[in-house]
Symmetry: C2
Subunit: 184 residues, 2 copies
DNA sequence: GACAAAAAACCGAACGTTTGGTATCTTTGG
DNA sequence: CCAAAGATACCAAACGTTCGGTTTTTTGTC
């Protein structure tokens, strides 16, 4: 795997792998484990190959964070659109995106987001701005549901930290109920 | 440590500074900024001074994390003890400890905890075990209050990430009400 | 299509810096 | 004087980055 010299060139696949493995390593082992060396090796290229795709390590970080935001944003928008009930649609989407991590490494999405965010003051602000924008966008339908959203944050945080939740299923349905009009 | 008063220089102050500044730097700038040089310089000593108090960087980290756990544990126990209402006393304490960050660097407590935890799988497990222990300890009085605790986690996370909360005051009182028997 | 030129993709080694750690001095206070 | 407290000097390893070279793919021309 070390000789990417002589294999089929698939630059966008390599770029994808670099981003994915960076996210995975960050989620699994923390930001200190995300070195150019480790990410490159995991993606099957050398550091030189890394540099070709990203001018610097920071560029990789920024691109990854932006992509995470984009993925989450898309997933949220999709769920809002198919929700027949307008009231609390955004909060419900936020909840479902976190809970329903059916896809493969979608758990890593939130873990990576958190790890990157907590280790870069700039990214914290980026997140805050991004989230406030969505919040303002849905201010009419999702008023007074802050508790549910906060509990949702606590949910993926507990997933990351490894604190198990008894009755996770039941807890989620209760949270969903809280987002519906008139309490139910 | 035998002679408590009339110390010679003030080594315990230096040790304290090392721990405090490590926590502050971690909370403010992430784990990557927590180098022994940075911590030492912030505490007003050189690396040599650092080494005298902590045999390694990991020792500093472990001591800090353990201290954070201890501080939180003490604060929780205190609040539980003075709470006249048994039902939900632990969850209320958890909530109040997070909300009532009267002391100056108590915001840093949770931020440091999160930063350290998310960057060391071992510490994640330590936290999970620690939290589960408390949870089991108060399982009779704090059953079915997971939502409030999760929302509390979301609360300090929003503090760290910089997402402002409208009606923070009102939101906290609502959360407290949820911990009281009979809903409110 | 053939085929050379150009561009893209990637390697591999080296660079200068910073990291955590160690070993050796010097100062301080009782 | 003497041990604790800390400074200074140094080390090997790892870090991110730079750069010239090599291989693959695309492009331009006939």
């Amino acid at each position: 795997m070390a000789n990417a010299h002589k294999r089929r060139k698939q630059p966008e696949v390599v770029r994808r792998n670099l981003l994915d493995h960076a996210a995975r390593i960050a989620a699994e082992s923390g930001i200190t484990a995300v070195t150019v060396q480790a990410v490159s090796a995991a993606a099957g290229v050398t550091k030189g190959g890394f540099t070709h795709h990203f001018p610097s390590k920071q560029a990789l970080m920024d691109a990854l964070f932006q992509e995470l935001l984009n993925d989450i944003g898309t997933a949220l928008a999709e769920r809002v659109q198919v929700d027949p009930e307008p009231h609390g649609a955004f909060t419900r989407a936020y909840l479902n995106v976190v809970v329903n991590r059916d896809s493969d490494e979608k758990l890593n999405t939130w873990a990576s987001l958190a790890v990157l965010m907590l280790n870069d003051p700039d990214l914290r602000k980026t997140w805050a701005d991004w989230f406030l924008l969505r919040l303002d966008q849905y201010r009419e339908t999702d008023i007074d549901l802050a508790i549910v959203r906060l509990a949702t944050d606590g949910l993926w945080l507990s997933d990351i930290s490894g604190v198990p939740l008894p009755d996770r299923e039941q807890l989620c349905t209760r949270l969903v109920q809280l987002t519906l009009p008139r309490g139910r």
